[in-house]
Symmetry: C2
DNA sequence: TATATATTTGTAATGATTACATTTTTATGG
DNA sequence: CCATAAAAATGTAATCATTACAAATATATA
């Protein structure tokens, strides 16, 4: 029995071939890929894979707390890492780096009752792009 | 001489009537409005105002560091407040609340050279929406 | 006033995401 | 093994915020 298969089952997701492939891709490519990137990469081995299926599957994973969506100004990114952490987005090359700090808890606030998620994103230029004058 | 006029001049922006109106709206409505909201509100007094002009003007203000853009999953929001602070987005009513904490500085990181901006956004349900069972 | 420049406008294009109907695959029971 | 129902995957069309761009209008300058 494969690890990914049982993992999906444990999260009440039927482990179809496609779903396992998408999960494995996210697990092995922890660079916050876009839907486009996932679709393109898997099209080689799954020639009939549709973008709609990638969207559907990601939303399924999100509902079952296997994946988190990161909203940037352009495309959405998907992150399989569940531990709370921050990100750095290079606005030149669009790379999204993991930053290993835990975002601060929301302070008590009159208008806030229930906090379900935090996103801490830094923007700027990465080393590679800075050097490439 | 009006305050907004000199303020725009000081930021190297020619204070046209439209630009002053948009600036004033942001200054007086600090609820992180969308382009849609700005356009709709000002259309009453500026019937010929086009959405393109709202977009153009906001981007101009952003380039001159008068306004910050906040990227959420749906529409973009615009914030005239320059002091570093966080936000809470109610995913029920889409209200974006100001949270008065300063986002932590980015830690030193091998890949990062130049950090220009931070966005710290909490997601959840606000008090009003929680009560409205 | 004439001319150049800046601003605004209207319309069309873009492109990621969603909606939805159809097709294909999988599970189940006789 | 077949029949049938449910689940999964697909293809295409619609949506809609944002951008591109060219034309029109307003403003400054000489
Ligand atoms: Mn990450
Ligand atoms: Mn704010
Ligand atoms: Zn970079
Ligand atoms: Zn709310």
């Amino acid at each position: 029995m494969e690890r990914v298969q049982t993992l999906l089952r444990n999260h009440d997701i039927r482990p179809s071939y496609t779903r396992m492939a998408i999960y494995r891709y996210l697990d092995e490519n922890r660079n916050h890929p876009t839907v486009e990137a996932i679709h393109e990469a898997l099209s080689a081995s799954l020639p009939t894979l549709s973008k709609t299926t990638v969207y559907n599957t990601l939303h399924l994973f999100i509902r079952h707390h296997l994946v988190k969506e990161i909203d940037l100004q352009d495309h959405k990114r998907y992150d399989i890492v569940q531990e709370p952490h921050a990100h750095f987005k290079c606005d030149v090359c669009d790379t999204l780096y993991d930053i290993d700090i835990v975002p601060p808890n929301a302070p008590t606030h009159d208008d806030i009752v229930d906090v379900r998620d935090v996103q801490l994103v830094y923007h700027g230029t990465c080393k590679r792009c800075q050097q490439a004058v």
